[in-house]
């Protein structure tokens, strides 16, 4: 019969190994999240004119922050706006990324390295800088476009009207995001076994047929991955519209959901309602990405 193992030393080891990770997770994730939740149920209460010392204190507010936040028409329209933004941005960006990746992967492409680098390059430009650059191009009096278009007999449309501003912002997202997604898709394409191409060529398939019938199905997982990440990223859009806002009266400080949170927290000094809306957005994002991943897991990875 085996002797019972001694547990003293080995038992501590696993805890010691996970301790740093758990400590950091608690410190940087759990505590801030907990504090946000705590704040979201509070509000600031003043007495009298609110000008004396100690006239303002934090009190429990129940769900009132959630109620007022979710019933705020500005927040609801920003939610709708970000969905439309995502619908514009993600298909265009991923379509272009896929197209460029397929072109680069096709045989006999000249300047391949140069093309790959120059398509990737905008991704390396910080979004704030990119937004400023594009913002200047959008403003007719400082942009070179009106002069160029005038030569062609055209005039530049106003890119900051209520209807066009969303496209103007989405354009910056496409410009900055295509390169990164292109690299991911291109890398996936390089790992497709070349025997498949040979077989296809022997069967008489054209380049286009190879792309449609072999390449795209083979890189399905990469497309799903870039798709999910892109959707999550676009729903969190903040830098571009926040940077463009001073350039136009059209983009208000609560134009997108995260801008609304920022506006509440730092311009209106209501960190309580800002916390409540942060929680709402975080939960929505979690449900959304979890659902998306589940569906795509079943479809693309066959549950693997």
């Amino acid at each position: 019969m085996k002797q019972p193992r001694k547990h003293t030393a080995p038992r501590l080891a696993p805890y010691a190994f996970v301790a740093p990770a758990v400590a950091l997770f608690a410190l940087l994730m759990l505590i801030p999240i907990g504090y946000t939740l705590f704040l979201s149920f509070g509000k600031s209460q003043v007495s009298g004119l609110g000008l004396g010392t100690g006239a303002r204190k934090q009190v429990f507010a129940g769900l009132s922050n959630y109620a007022s936040g979710l019933s705020d028409p500005a927040f609801l329209s920003s939610l709708l706006r970000v969905l439309v933004y995502s619908l514009i941005l993600v298909p265009v960006m991923l379509g272009l990324a896929l197209l460029f990746a397929l072109l680069l992967d096709a045989q006999r492409v000249r300047f391949q390295r140069f093309a790959r680098l120059s398509i990737f390059l905008p991704y390396a430009v910080p979004t704030v800088i990119a937004s400023l650059l594009w913002g200047f191009l959008y403003l007719p009096t400082v942009s070179p476009f009106p002069a160029i278009l005038a030569r062609l007999g055209l005039s530049m449309p106003d890119l900051f009207t209520t209807n066009t501003a969303l496209f103007s912002v989405a354009n910056i997202g496409v410009w900055g995001g295509t390169g990164f997604n292109m690299i991911v898709i291109y890398t996936a394409l390089r790992s497709v076994p070349t025997e498949l191409y040979e077989a296809a060529r022997i069967d008489g398939a054209s380049q286009v047929q190879v792309a449609l019938r072999i390449k795209i199905p083979m890189i399905g997982p990469a497309l799903v991955l870039t798709g999910v990440f892109s959707i999550i990223a676009t729903l969190q859009v903040f830098n571009e519209p926040h940077t463009l806002a001073p350039l136009t009266n059209t983009i208000s400080p609560d134009w997108m959901p995260l801008m609304k949170v920022f506006d509440l927290a730092f311009n209106e000094q209501d960190s309580y309602e800002a916390a409540a809306l942060s929680v709402v957005i975080a939960v929505a994002m979690f449900v959304f990405s979890y659902g998306l991943l589940r569906v795509s897991n079943k479809r693309v990875f066959q549950g693997r």
């Binding site: 303002r56 009132s64 136009t248």
Partner: protein, 462 residues
């Protein structure tokens, strides 16, 4: 540098709380060079700086402990002004931490104060003092700076005391509004310099007929402080208090009159509907697209960067009046030096704040080096030579002094941040689509009232 990037650091909020933007102008730098040179070469001159230098005993911080005070401000070249103080007060060293602008600083200040580590001193615009006071972030320095009242105009003094016995800051600059116009282009388009808003509107219509695409200015949703100043001129008091009850009158008849007036000008085309402080606006100010600017006496600090090609061509005149000859103007911005409640050296900080804004050498340096239009009455009177940009107007400062005397008394409430933020949101769409300005105005009022009620303020029905 900032200018090239569109006028403001992008990640910051625009300084739209009425804060003026600060540009370190070449001219100020030049003035600075002379000052520094003078200061260096004649440390023992008879300037009043020496009197401060020779009497460090006057500082009541007699403890031998050396203290270092941090000071947040956006005033350009302030460190050069403060160097004089630091030289004469080895025990109280002040370090400036430069901020982007009034609005950006306020955001940081509120956050830092909430976190418990604000600076010792901060530049604070008058309209946000009630917000900071109601959060209990500012120290009452009345016991240290007890004899300053007579140094400042009553209007500025009321703003820093909030009408109480307390003192929450020492007034630094007065900010009466004024109209700036391109004298040469007014002649070219045969416009008369308006003295009333009716004339201003007539000029706008005439200009639009004569030269579409040239404007008498622009109406921006990003400068609520400017609109607030214009409504002040018309007699609006956005907040008032009686007993323990606040009254909010943002959507008053006076504000409505101003809103409708500007709406009609934007709709008819004499006034543009683009924001100020952008690269496009700078270009328009420089190339004659904008030939007038409703602004403030602090404009000389901005003009050299906003319209660099037109030195001497812009002129200042009184803000147009609703009633001819009434002589009333509003305020746009203006700020004070406040001591934070969390500071461990409140007495030293209060002493410095008083020195910065009342000592003749300090206020003279503030005016010449930093372009601040001082609130101190004596300092105001001491300004003689016009700012270099306005050299064609030798009486520039006496005009400014007249406007300061005409400035209507502002009354701010504890919710200015909400009002200003809501103004930008609500007016943005209306300005872009040239729709009615009255419904966004009502929206600002209701947002402020509901926010105040939510916080537990007693708000009178209006």
């Amino acid at each position: 540098m900032k200018l090239i990037l569109g006028g403001r650091p992008a990640v910051m909020r625009s300084p739209r709380r009425g804060a003026r933007r600060v540009h370190v102008s070449a001219i100020a730098a030049a003035a600075l060079a002379t000052l520094v040179a003078a200061g260096c070469s004649s440390a023992s001159s008879t300037s009043s700086a020496t009197s401060t230098a020779s009497s460090p005993a006057s500082s009541s911080a007699s403890s031998s402990q050396k203290v270092t005070l941090s000071f947040w401000s956006w005033v350009p070249n302030l460190d050069k002004v403060i160097a004089t103080w630091n030289k004469s007060h080895p025990d109280i060293q002040v370090q400036v931490q430069v901020q982007a602008g009034g609005d950006a600083e306020l955001t940081k200040l509120l956050t830092a104060a909430k976190a418990g580590n604000p600076p010792d001193l901060a530049q604070v615009e008058y309209q946000v003092l009630p917000t900071l006071v109601s959060n209990n972030y500012l120290a009452n320095v009345s016991q240290y700076d007890s004899n300053l009242k007579s140094d400042f105009p009553a209007g500025n003094w009321t703003q820093v005391t909030l009408g109480t016995d307390a003192l929450y800051g020492v007034p630094q600059d007065a900010a009466p509004m004024a109209l700036f116009y391109r004298a040469d282009l007014f002649k070219k388009y045969h416009l008369t310099v308006p003295t009333t808003w009716a004339q201003f509107a007539a000029d706008a219509t005439k200009l639009h007929a004569e030269a579409p695409g040239v404007y008498l200015g622009t109406f921006s949703s990003q400068d609520p402080g400017e609109f607030a100043g214009l409504t002040q001129q018309a007699g609006a008091q956005w907040w008032s208090a009686s007993g323990s009850t606040w009254k909010v009158s943002i959507n008053s008849a006076a504000s409505q009159k101003v809103a409708s007036y500007w709406q009609s000008l934007v709709t008819s085309g004499g006034i543009n509907n683009q924001p100020q402080w952008t690269a496009a606006w700078n270009k328009g100010m420089n190339n004659g697209q904008y030939i007038a600017w409703v602004s403030d006496v602090w404009a000389p600090t901005d003009m050299p960067t906003v319209s660099p090609a037109n030195t001497g061509k812009w002129a200042m005149t009184e803000l147009p009046q609703w009633t001819a000859g009434a002589g009333v103007v509003g305020n746009w911005g203006g700020s004070s030096t406040a001591v934070l409640a969390a500071s461990k050296h409140q007495q030293a900080a209060a002493e410095f704040a008083a020195w910065l804004n009342t000592d003749p050498a300090a206020t003279a340096a503030l005016a010449s080096v930093s372009g601040v239009y001082p609130a101190d009455i004596a300092a105001e009177g001491a300004l003689s030579a016009p700012p270099p940009y306005f050299s064609s107007q030798p009486n520039f400062w006496s005009l400014a002094k007249g406007y300061a005397a005409d400035a209507s008394q502002a009354s701010w409430g504890p919710d200015v941040d909400v009002a200003y933020s809501e103004f930008t949101s609500a007016f943005g769409g209306a300005i872009t689509s040239k729709a009615s300005f009255l419904s966004p105005l009502a929206q600002v009022q209701s947002a402020v009232v509901s926010d105040m009620k939510k916080s537990g303020f007693t708000v009178a029905a209006s």
